[in-house]
């Protein structure tokens, strides 16, 4: 699983390392597919991704083309359902009951559960082997703080993967981050990668600036 909603919170540097190492047949779990040529789209374009579990890829024409051509399997979930499936795994539970999409085409008959006269949809928890995340700041223990809307799926994924690898441009001594302001406690974090600098991918994207 890979953090980020659009660019904020996307671990671009860890993605570049995955690109360099070249693992293939990956299943990625991410809110979106970034945009063509950016972030996980690079992994898709290099043919490393077999399957993408996501909510919306409307901003990435390349990913849509790959999906339509049958070169990329895509599994869509309502955004809050994807978040809750990950949160549920992170809480050590196995599934939850919901009424979201109950009477729409996204619900298959085998997902229905009738309990005490009420109809529900069963959603199973979603976990991963590895989570790649981005934090604005960390300490050497792996306590994490996110900035702005870069929080999104990162703290959920930090709790829902067997190996949690976090990149951050700022790593402080333990104690430097106020305990009551830590978003992810270090118990969930396995590895910290300190970035010497942030590439242009982390900057404001001009085409999203209205003039």
């Amino acid at each position: 699983m890979i953090g980020g909603f659009g660019s904020p919170g996307t671990p671009f540097s860890l993605i570049d390392e995955l690109l360099r190492q070249g693992q293939r047949q990956l299943t990625l779990i991410k809110n979106d597919a970034n945009e063509a040529g950016i972030g996980i789209s690079k992994l898709i374009e290099q043919g490393q991704v077999e399957r993408l579990i996501t909510t919306h890829i409307g901003l990435n024409k390349t990913a849509i083309e790959w999906m339509n051509a049958g070169r990329l399997q895509v599994e869509f979930h309502p955004q809050g359902m994807l978040a809750e499936k990950i949160r549920t795994a992170g809480a050590g539970s196995f599934g939850f009951l919901t009424d979201i999409g109950l009477d729409t085409e996204i619900t298959r008959p085998e997902q229905l559960l009738n309990w005490q006269g009420q109809q529900y949809k069963v959603e199973m928890a979603l976990k991963a082997d590895v989570a790649l995340l981005h934090a604005a700041r960390a300490d050497r223990f792996g306590n994490l703080v996110y900035d702005g809307s870069a929080m999104n799926f990162n703290p959920l994924m930090a709790m829902a993967a067997d190996q949690v690898i976090v990149e951050t441009p700022e790593c402080l001594d333990p104690g430097a981050l106020p305990p009551n302001q830590i978003h992810t406690a270090c118990a969930f974090v396995d590895h910290l990668v300190v970035l010497p600098r942030l590439t242009s991918e982390y900057a404001v994207m001009e085409h999203h600036v209205k003039h």
Binding site: H56, G58, P78, Q79, G80, I100, T104, S149, M205
Partner: protein, 213 residues
């Protein structure tokens, strides 16, 4: 003034002081530009922001702070950031008072189709289904007809629905319509639009209260 500008100006009157609202991608996000500053509302964005506001001045843009449409937003005093599960808990617990949303089709029962055109457009459902199903008041902002001139207001949605019976009001470039138990009630007509003309471009049953007809 273009018809879309008129539509957006009309839509600003739906925004009540003290409310929490969500603006969907497309026409609804354009509404931001028409809202007065210091308006007493909190705008929710699915990616984990309550208190989103207009694009930040260039020198204050934070690359780590966008809205769900990707704009580099500013925030109002009293805003908060949270993770995606909290953001959607807020939606599913109906804490958003009003959602303005775009649509491919709306039918006279208030069912909404806005996420998929089979074979043509299927980028995923995003946050639309939970917003449509759980927001107490849904106002659809859309052009009355599609680019081929066909009515987007129907007796029954043909496309896969996002949620059934969820829309309260439809604001188009031609009219303002309320979904009622008796059918679609025409509340306002745009300048120069007659009841006969509206009927001729709408594939649904319309009710004209006396003061509009």
């Amino acid at each position: 003034m273009s018809n879309i500008e008129t539509l957006l100006k009309r839509a600003t009157r739906e925004v009540l002081p003290g409310s929490i609202l969500n603006l969907g991608i497309g026409l609804p996000t354009q509404l931001l530009d028409y809202l007065p500053d210091n308006l007493d509302v909190l705008i929710h964005s699915e990616n984990g922001v309550l208190g989103a506001w207009k694009q930040a001045p260039r020198e204050q843009m934070n690359p780590a702070l966008i809205d769900a449409a990707g704009a580099y937003i500013s925030t109002v005093p009293g805003s908060s950031f949270f993770d995606s599960s909290v953001s959607f808990a807020m939606i599913r617990r109906s804490k958003i008072d009003l959602t303005m949303i775009g649509a491919f089709e709306v039918d006279q029962q208030g069912s909404l189709a806005n996420w998929k055109i089979p074979g043509k457009f299927s980028p995923g459902i995003g946050g639309a289904m939970e917003l449509a199903q759980k927001t107490p008041r849904i106002v659809v902002l859309m052009t009355h007809c599609d680019k081929q001139g066909r009515s987007k207001i129907l007796r029954h949605c043909r496309l896969p629905v996002t949620a059934h019976h969820c829309v309260s009001r439809i604001i188009t470039d031609l009219a303002v319509l309320d979904v009622t138990t008796n059918g679609l009630s025409v509340q306002e007509l745009a300048e120069g639009v007659t009841p006969d003309y509206l009927r001729s471009v709408t594939d649904a049953d319309l009710i004209f209260p006396e003061e509009v007809a």
